[in-house]
């Protein structure tokens, strides 16, 4: 069920990217897509009632493997957030510069390129 909600979030973002004309709203839509994916990734490793994936002295390996949540997707999400931050910073500075040049945030008015 929650998986469908993730895809719902991703599709909402996709709609935003495709329909919105404002650069800032496009960037926000891209972020929404990204958060949807992060949710999806974290859900892959989630286990209801799981324990933290830390081995302490005296932990029984077999029951630990049966109970712990998967730490890898969390590491992946952390990395992916950092990448998202990089892309976000770049896109925001690009849109600031575009605003300086064109005096508008509307991408349908930035039409120097065609063909």
């Amino acid at each position: 069920m929650i998986y469908f909600l993730c895809f719902g979030l991703i599709l909402v973002g996709l709609y935003g990217v495709l329909v919105r004309r404002n650069t800032v709203k496009i960037i926000i839509s891209l972020l929404v897509i990204e958060y949807g994916i992060h949710l999806l990734l974290v859900l892959q490793g989630y286990r209801r009632g799981g324990v933290p994936p830390i081995v302490e002295p005296g932990t029984d390996q077999q029951t630990w493997i049966g109970q712990s949540v998967d730490p890898l997707p969390q590491a992946l999400v952390l990395t992916s957030i950092v990448i998202g931050l990089g892309v976000l910073a770049l896109l925001v500075s690009l849109s600031i510069r575009l605003f300086e040049r064109y005096g508008t945030m509307d991408i349908s008015k930035m039409r120097r390129l065609k063909g």
Binding site: L72, L94, L113
Partner: protein, 495 residues
């Protein structure tokens, strides 16, 4: 020798961060450091052995740790990347002076090389994604480097579409991880081997295909490319079209399809059709362009289509032809883009209708451009002919007569649009319309093609001729290329 493998990623990354410090001592250190780095990388990748090696970072065994893997195909890609980075680095010394903030340019160039080397070496899906992102973020910034209206607009378009494709790739990776529980390519291949893909995995594969298809500009997803390449500075267009879109798009696509998921008849059909459509659409759109760099950009789309089509034949000869054409494309297309930079400086415009008779102004460029044009159109002595010949023969042997004739037809279209550039830019009299090209009269030769720009163009032009020597070992198995094709033909990785 194996210990050199991680250095291929570490050296450019370290240099990228060292350049901002080094330029405080001497502003020219940025150029010097990046050229030396590219040279070092070229030497290291030449000395890599051709057989398959898996390098465990930090001595962690395969499914637990991060792997780097080298085989014939990655070695070939590494050679192209570092060779092209070297040529582009030398060219940039002459070209980038017209811009400011040089060290930033070289830092970004080195980051892009880091990303591409990482993609080619990476042994697991998620690190591959990270390196793809490093390379693309650097390329967004490089496309916007000029800072003009068009540059920023193209970069924004590229970044939004690139961000979407990265998201699609990440969904694909998440689904693959959820279904198989591993991301290591070797491990993944062994878990998928012999199983019919479940619907979720098919969906993931489709997402990965679309994502990497966008990065390599297959036709429904090609719209960013003709904006991004002309907007970038000429050396960056050269490296973007020559290798970046191949390393982070096509290479990964082919690797995943042939070596991880396992190629099937349906996938081959998909490759053939998407490649064929890309080839035709790219060539026809190139024919109608008057902006010289935009024409070359569409020509890149068309050539990528040809490569994908040849991969889609699925026979050894087809794959050899595809990889050989990829190598050749990494030589003649950068040459054309570097020439376009010199033409732009000499003519003061990118519009083919406004330039005439540049041959007397920039003779070196005119000659190398002739070589590049003949090579891309597939005229016999040059390398483009041999790879197209292999592809056509492979198509005929595999029974795809229609595709074979289409490849020949598109070669003729390619020749047509290259001749259009030749006649418009280089032939004709210099004095026909002096009023629209003021800088021809004033621009002396030393201005438009200084030594640093002329040498790389000459190197690449010689490369166009020299690469046909690779076929001396036989048309079925060109040197270097055969071992790369063998990797793909061996099927999925075994563990």
């Amino acid at each position: 020798m194996n210990n050199l493998i991680p250095l291929l990623v570490v050296i450019p990354m370290g240099v990228a961060f060292a350049i901002p410090l080094a330029v405080r001592m001497n502003p020219r250190l940025g150029e010097l450091l990046s050229i030396l780095t590219a040279l070092t990388l070229l030497v290291i990748s030449l000395f890599l052995p051709s057989q398959e090696i898996i390098y465990h970072i930090g001595n962690w065994p395969t499914p637990d740790g991060i792997d780097l893997r080298v085989d014939g195909l990655s070695k070939l890609m590494l050679l192209i990347i570092s060779g092209l980075a070297l040529v582009v680095g030398i060219y940039s010394v002459g070209f980038i002076r017209q811009f400011t903030g040089h060290y930033r340019y070289y830092t970004l160039l080195m980051l892009m090389v880091t990303g591409m080397n990482g993609v080619v070496l990476s042994g697991d899906l998620f690190n591959l994604y990270i390196f793809v992102e490093i390379a693309t973020i650097a390329s967004y910034a490089l496309v916007a480097f000029g800072g003009e209206h068009e540059d920023l607009e193209a970069s924004f378009k590229y970044a939004v579409l690139g961000g979407l494709s990265s998201s699609v790739i990440l969904i694909g990776i998440a689904l693959v991880y959820g279904m198989t529980g591993t991301l290591n390519l070797t491990h993944l291949a062994s878990r998928l081997d012999g199983h019919v893909l479940t619907p979720t995995l098919q969906f993931a594969l489709a997402l990965l295909f679309c994502g990497f298809g966008l990065k390599s500009a297959l036709v429904p997803f090609h719209t960013w490319l003709p904006d991004a390449y002309p907007a970038a500075p000429a050396p960056i267009s050269a490296i973007l079209s020559g290798i970046t879109s191949k390393a982070i798009g096509l290479y990964v696509l082919v690797r995943l399809l042939f070596n991880v998921f396992g190629i099937t008849d349906d996938l081959l059909l998909l490759l053939r059709w998407s490649g064929g459509i890309t080839m035709v659409v790219g060539a026809l759109l190139a024919l109608g362009q008057w902006n010289i760099k935009r024409l070359f950009a569409y020509s890149s789309v068309s050539q990528v289509g040809l490569i994908v089509l040849a991969f889609g034949f699925g026979t050894t000869a087809g794959i050899v032809g595809a990889i050989f054409h990829l190598v050749n494309h990494a030589v003649f297309k950068p040459l054309l883009f570097l020439n376009s930079g010199a033409i732009e400086i000499a003519a003061g415009t990118r519009d083919l209708r406004k330039m005439h008779g540049l041959r007397s102004t920039i003779p070196v460029t005119a000659t190398t451009h002739m070589v590049g044009s003949l090579s891309i159109a597939g005229i016999p002595p040059f390398n483009g002919f041999w790879s197209k010949l292999i592809i056509v023969v492979a198509a005929v042997n595999a029974g795809f007569m229609g595709w074979a004739s289409l490849v020949v037809l598109m070669s003729i279209v390619t020749l047509a649009y290259q001749l259009k550039v030749q006649t418009a830019a280089f032939f004709g009299s210099n004095t026909r319309s002096p009023e629209v090209t003021p800088s021809i009269a004033t621009g002396s030769r030393s201005n438009a093609e200084p030594l640093f720009m002329a040498v790389p163009m000459i190197i690449l032009a010689i490369g166009c001729g020299a690469l046909s020597l690779l076929t001396l070992t036989g048309l079925d198995e060109p040197f270097f290329v055969a071992s790369a094709a063998e990797v793909l033909m061996k099927g999925v990785f075994t563990w």
